[in-house]
Subunit: 232 residues, 4 copies
Amino acid sequence: MAGPNSNDPPQGSLFARLRDANAEAWQDYTEHPFLMALADGNLSEPAFRHYLIQDFIFLRHFARAYGLAAYKAENLDEIRTASRGLQAIVDVEIGLHESYCTDWGVDSATLEAAPEHNATLAYTRYVLERGMAGDLLDLYVALAPCIIGYGEIGARLLANNRTKLEGNRFAAWIEMYGGEDYQTISADAVRYLDQVGRRRGADSRFPALCRIFAEATRLEAAFWQMGLDAGE
Amino acid sequence: MAGPNSNDPPQGSLFARLRDANAEAWQDYTEHPFLMALADGNLSEPAFRHYLIQDFIFLRHFARAYGLAAYKAENLDEIRTASRGLQAIVDVEIGLHESYCTDWGVDSATLEAAPEHNATLAYTRYVLERGMAGDLLDLYVALAPCIIGYGEIGARLLANNRTKLEGNRFAAWIEMYGGEDYQTISADAVRYLDQVGRRRGADSRFPALCRIFAEATRLEAAFWQMGLDAGE
Amino acid sequence: MAGPNSNDPPQGSLFARLRDANAEAWQDYTEHPFLMALADGNLSEPAFRHYLIQDFIFLRHFARAYGLAAYKAENLDEIRTASRGLQAIVDVEIGLHESYCTDWGVDSATLEAAPEHNATLAYTRYVLERGMAGDLLDLYVALAPCIIGYGEIGARLLANNRTKLEGNRFAAWIEMYGGEDYQTISADAVRYLDQVGRRRGADSRFPALCRIFAEATRLEAAFWQMGLDAGE
Amino acid sequence: MAGPNSNDPPQGSLFARLRDANAEAWQDYTEHPFLMALADGNLSEPAFRHYLIQDFIFLRHFARAYGLAAYKAENLDEIRTASRGLQAIVDVEIGLHESYCTDWGVDSATLEAAPEHNATLAYTRYVLERGMAGDLLDLYVALAPCIIGYGEIGARLLANNRTKLEGNRFAAWIEMYGGEDYQTISADAVRYLDQVGRRRGADSRFPALCRIFAEATRLEAAFWQMGLDAGE
């Protein structure tokens, strides 16, 4: 894929350090065959539909994680940031997701009735459990591979000249996460993670934070794999 | 105070049953001398200011309780309701509170620097701890004396012919909680508590729910008392 | 397998009702091919070793779940029951497990270094997350398929005339869970679940409890399957 | 009171640093008039009885805090330490407390029926809520003023030549906390806090940990004051 670009998080950021300390797992996740197939348009439709449905379930638990962040917050600013994150999911993202699913022929009834796959369950419950057992920093580190990782994936796919946008039915997905709106969300999340980390001694907790980041990254890769497996 | 009026929650509602099972504690709270002094305009300004400052701290933990409700939610509707509650506090109520405090000569710096009184700490942490140890129903029952109680207090003070509005510097407070906007919030909370209760067996858990309601009601009365004591 | 026997939980017990409402999932779990292969001695050693190692990781999170039960307890009896459960795991079961692993050639270093399989992660975090989001009853319902299920499995394997004990290297496992000590633990857990359920309105919460029981049962079956898959 | 003695925690320990950073609050707590009256035998019996009863309620929530520590633990050693703490309370301390209460004419029925005082509620729920919102280090810091503080108080009262043991009906209390058994518990807690702190970046989190320690210390002093007030 493309090398570092202007969207790359600043070198010294906590996110960049966590990512670089888990380079192999990060590559497995961000350059997963699911994404390569998405980029060249060769991903099977059932694989993408399965991913969309599970991602809808994922979002619900992700929203709960932002609720947890509000509970764990120690001042008004932290509560407000968590509240905005929760609101963005339930008032914007879930709606977008539903309409996107409709475009792909997945109606609300199908979304509601879909059983949760083990890959979804493992990932979401890991994040919620780590976030509950640890403090706000542990929680945001567990959320980082998703929020910030999707930004990195979107930007790199968009910048990659092997990515086919024309005639690619997955182009909208790539353009959404590679687009300016999501890139801003992702860059904000990088900065916010640093802020939360400074207050809570991220430097001296780095090995423990690394383990959480590594596990969440691994579970993200398994989430792509679940999609891919469903398409076979 | 005034007897039952049109704002009274329906007789069979979970809230009405909890309130009626704790009639004495409820009366201690909703007819507390602090409120009587507020209604006739004789409350001392230092008492009211102290109350306002502590209520500001209270709101912050109350917001966290709605974050917790989002975490505890079991479906999208429950997450959305909790998210709206959280948002209402951090985007609306806290702002209103700050501007109201300014009117009373309490600036932001004073609000930020104010130490938390034990009455505030006891009440807020009790709600958060009960909500965490129990389920979503336990949490909403712990929140009910405040949300719904303020509605009942506002409506009754407004309807009471012993209440003096003209020339009463506390009239704005009474009109806010007695006014249509807050009455709608309060009535919605009554209905929502029934909905959460139906799903989680409120009837057969009534004695345990009663204990939570009673304790939260007692802690609300102690909160008024804290205000009153500060004015002496 | 053998039909109902004297070890069967009383018909009206909450556990029996949850099990019977999820008959198919329960059968998938308690009559899983892993167990059939264990009973006739044909399970592959790598499969069993993989199971042992993951079960060791499982026990650690299970111990945490009993810690959570102590936190969620509402009176001294409930705290004591949770404390005894926690103590039994960390002071007895984990030690037994380690020595059992040694017999199977799995040393402590291997146990410590073993990465957690997704099936282990999904199951344990689901239990911890349900137990945290819900109340003590939700937590014990999530734990029931394991604690009580192992008792039922042990008793049925021991009573089944197709089970081969002589010359079966897995006989010790069957005799442990089918034996009197574990049967007492299991029967106590059935009674205790009823007690916790009575206090918290289990009857009117039955559909929600059923969903938790069904999911935990399904995740237990997936845990056997993980062992089986490792043996191939 | 007596100056530093051999029981003093090592200068560089996290506990010593937290205590020294909150010197005034620590003195208010550890040299509270309640303790001075206990040391010279002049404490009123009703004051001591009230303290004993509330301390019994306190212990129950303290046990829950150790259950929470087991949930929050990240490895087997941490789970075991939490389990031993929980077990010590429910199997030893609570029993001792009950028999001690009996000596003071407070029977089990009185203990069970006693309503929880706001000072008890505020302190216990603060510890549980901080421990839940933060990580294991936040939890143990919130617990430190009690566990380690009682050790320091016991040792200092015993070493103080103004303390009267002969004919002092409170001598048993002083001798228990000043005695070797409790001094070992307290010294172990100092060391363990360092261990938990090293793993979780205590140094760079010092200001935030200080706030928790200060609040818990203040709430301990309020607990003595509650006893004193009850004796008037």
